[in-house]
């Protein structure tokens, strides 16, 4: 069993593109769920909007990348308004049902045969549409050490991705310390009390949903640029559930919660997957019990169990403050 490779892959994925994508998705959820208490289960839909905005604008229409980014943000804002207007006046679980349904609508429309010309059906859109951006890469080579390994292009994505994360973390930190952020937190704690103070709760919730959604769209943007392809089934509900696992693992309502959560999540996920894979290949685990193609299923089962266990036994996550996150016993 090649433990060094297992470690190398796990560490690489810990700070790799996937970790960035789920960190961004969770950063958005943190504003919605962590600070405002909004149950947005459609983060995959926001990410899909960001990703498809890039792919359709650049690959299909041939317009520049910066315009695509603008469309991505605009699309996320419109989507947030569409979701928020019917549901934000209702109880929390209505938003959950509607957002999860809306994200599925986006995915099914994107993969439909009748819109094949625009969205590429279930194969999605691929091409060298981020080539201009990759051409800006000043790095001479990638990185290849015993601990981490990135190709030249991946390293460029990773550096820019974490810079974007840093900027969003900073914005979040400033926002939640502001009066605006305090209103969000009080909405989470007691909506009626905030309303009685004369605040427009509906408006604040809408702002939180929109801001979180735009951050979620950035997750899709990074995904689309890094992979240079967009596939509808990458934006299934699994993305949202993973993002929730990341958020709750790191600690909701903590500025650095999603960052830490994403790193730990991906390290553990890749480590377990690679270790199991190696164990099966080396014959430590008989292939009659576990086939190599089932390792992913074990990983997913562990994510589900982990999410349950965290929510029951440690809802504040690793670094969260139990008092801050008034989700459990009160």
């Amino acid at each position: 069993m090649d433990w060094l490779t297992v470690f190398q892959n796990s560490l690489t994925q810990m700070i790799g593109v996937q970790a960035i994508i789920y960190c961004l998705a969770a950063l958005g959820l943190n504003i919605q769920f962590g600070y405002t208490g909004l149950l947005n289960f459609g983060q995959a839909g926001f990410a899909a909007i960001g990703a498809y905005a890039i792919a359709v604008t650049v690959a299909t229409l041939g317009w520049p990348l910066w315009l695509a980014l603008f469309f991505g943000i605009l699309g996320a804002i419109i989507f947030a308004l569409l979701l928020g207007i019917p549901t934000l006046r209702l109880r929390a679980d209505y938003l959950a049902i509607v957002t999860i349904a809306a994200a599925e609508i986006i995915r099914q429309v994107a993969r439909s045969v009748s819109l094949n010309d625009y969205f590429g059906g279930s194969d999605g859109i691929s091409g060298k549409y981020a080539a201009d951006w990759y051409a800006l890469n000043p790095l001479p080579v990638g990185i290849d050490t015993a601990l981490i390994r990135f190709s030249r292009n991946d390293l460029w994505v990773v550096i820019n991705g974490w810079t974007l994360v840093a900027v969003i973390v900073l914005i979040t930190w400033l926002l939640v310390r502001s009066p605006w952020g305090r209103v969000l937190k009080s909405i989470r704690e007691d909506e009626d009390a905030v309303r009685s103070l004369g605040k427009n709760v509906y408006l604040y919730k809408m702002q939180a949903l929109t801001l979180g959604g735009v951050i979620g769209a950035f997750a899709g943007v990074i995904f689309a640029v890094a992979a240079q392809s967009v596939q509808p089934d990458n934006y299934a509900t699994t993305l949202t559930f993973f993002a929730y696992a990341v958020l709750i693992l790191g600690g909701a309502a903590r500025v650095f919660g999603p960052v830490v959560g994403s790193m730990i999540f991906w390290f553990l996920l890749v480590f377990v997957g690679q270790a199991l894979n190696n164990a099966v290949k080396a014959g430590y685990i008989s292939s009659s019990i576990l086939r190599p193609d089932q390792v992913g299923q074990i990983q997913f089962m562990l994510v589900g169990l982990g999410l349950m266990a965290l929510m029951i036994f440690r809802p504040q996550g690793i670094f969260g403050d139990k008092k801050e996150l008034a989700l459990d016993e009160r």
Partner: protein
């Protein structure tokens, strides 16, 4: 947070929490909890793991080449599997069956030699004469090459047939509505009594179908008996045990509503991939009644199995309605849904009612899964696939009201089928979900819901 934001606690646990917060009580409860979990997991795993060895076998490919009109096998068709230095051909036997043993894991290209087909026959889709598959050891994959007359199927004359489709689509819609309603009743009742939005409810649907598949196709029981056993087993495992080891404990811990919702998402996620793990990724049909021919009743075509299953579904829904309206236990259930504190004060055992609701809901969901299985086969993902439609039906009728859920589900079912007249069939579920969002915009409390429910 207002008190109503917590999962409802029954009278017993409420009292227990106030009068007995001491460590001893907690420890005893924890131990009971752990034993309960171990018991349930062992039972559950044991039952489902039993499927795995029956499916596993040597690596290989198999299939049957059939005449599209008569349905009989065609002999003498050559099929070739190639990959990584390996190449082997097989010729179909008199029954049209072929099989190729593979040397091991890897990606193989399987192709059908169209020149070996009898004259007048060709592939239904000429592009599907060659497929690429990933083979794993311990797996025999079935590969089908659908045949036709060699040319692409002629498109229907659309406009003329559209209106004549309405009766058929309505019947299909009502059957689908019954499927959704069976699942929605449980979802709605659980929500009504405990305020839990259960995102793992879809897995109860899948559980019923998977257990039916296990008892009928692997144990070999007649399908009807398999269905009865599977529904009862799901009601016990998915209802009583699930409530007992998980949700009752969470209620006693005072877990918040949102936390419980996230727990149900984690549970559903875990169960889905557990089902995938033991059952595999394919969609399978029950052995019996798989390709039943439809009978024509007036303008509509319906298979006898669907007709009987829908009839049983209607009876089950009718019995549930009767139970809710006329029996003491049903009235108690409605009382708990209405006002648990008052119900508890009036001497109703809230926990007992909740337990009954779980058992009933899980059993009905299981039968809903059986109906889906009869129509379109059993897969690990089937529960989550319909869950959002179940939610749509429930919300349309009004969350928490059983009757609303039934009516809402029937509307959603008919609407989905009729919408195919206007929008492409592949987008029919999208239409239903859009309606769900619109309903929330116009009448968020649903058809039969009451305004105060949605706070």
């Amino acid at each position: 947070m207002p008190r109503g934001f917590q999962l409802m606690t029954g009278s017993t646990s409420e009292g227990g929490r106030m009068s007995n917060p001491m460590a001893t009580g907690k420890v005893a409860r924890r131990q009971g909890y752990r034993r309960g979990i171990a018991f349930a997991l062992a039972l559950f795993a044991g039952l489902l793991m039993a499927i795995a060895p029956a499916i596993a076998a040597d690596a290989g490919l198999k299939g049957t080449v059939k005449d599209p009109t008569s349905g009989t096998g065609i002999a003498g068709v050559v099929i070739t599997a190639e990959g990584d230095g390996f190449s082997e051909s097989a010729t179909t036997g008199a029954d049209g069956k072929w099989a190729i043993a593979l040397p091991g894991e890897g990606t193989y290209t399987v192709s059908l030699d169209t020149t070996s087909l009898p004259s007048g026959l060709g592939l239904a889709d000429p592009e599907r004469g060659t497929t690429s598959i990933d083979a794993y050891s311990g797996q025999i994959k079935t590969i089908l090459f659908p045949l036709g007359d060699g040319s692409a199927p002629a498109p229907d004359s659309e406009a003329a047939s559209k209106w004549s489709q309405i009766p058929q689509l309505t019947i299909d819609g009502i059957i689908f509505g019954i499927v959704i309603a069976l699942a929605a009743v449980g979802l709605s009742l659980v929500f009504g009594t405990t305020k839990l939005t259960n995102f793992a409810h879809g897995e109860l649907i899948a559980l019923g179908a998977l257990l039916t598949f296990f008892f009928s196709s692997i144990v070999g029981l007649p399908l009807v008996i398999a269905i009865i056993i599977a529904v009862l087993a799901s009601a016990f495992i998915g209802g009583w045990v699930q409530n007992r080891v998980l949700w009752k404990q969470l209620r006693m811990r005072g877990t918040g509503l949102i936390a419980a919702l996230v727990v149900s998402i984690g549970l559903g996620f875990f169960l889905r991939y557990f089902f995938l793990f033991v059952f595999g990724g394919q969609t399978r049909q029950f052995d019996q009644f798989a390709g039943q021919a439809g009978i024509e009743i007036g303008p509509v075509l319906i298979t006898p199995k669907d007709l009987i299953a829908s009839f049983v579904g209607i009876i089950l829904i009718g019995l549930t309605t009767y139970w809710l309206l006329r029996t003491k236990a049903g009235k108690a259930t409605r009382a708990v849904a209405d006002n648990p504190a008052l119900a508890s004060a009036s001497g109703i055992e809230v926990e007992k009612v909740i337990s009954t609701v779980w058992v009933l809901g899980a059993g009905l969901a299981a039968f809903s899964g059986v109906m889906i299985g009869l129509q379109s086969g059993v897969s690990w993902y089937m529960g989550f696939q319909v869950l959002l439609l179940v939610f749509a039906g429930t919300v349309l009728g009004g969350l928490g009201t059983a009757f609303g859920a039934i009516i809402g589900s029937l509307i959603v079912g008919v609407l989905i089928q009729l919408s195919t007249l206007i929008i492409p069939t592949e987008l029919k579920y999208v239409g239903a979900l859009v309606v769900l969002i619109l309903i929330l915009l116009i009448r968020p409390e649903g058809i039969l819901g009451r305004r105060e429910r949605i706070g």
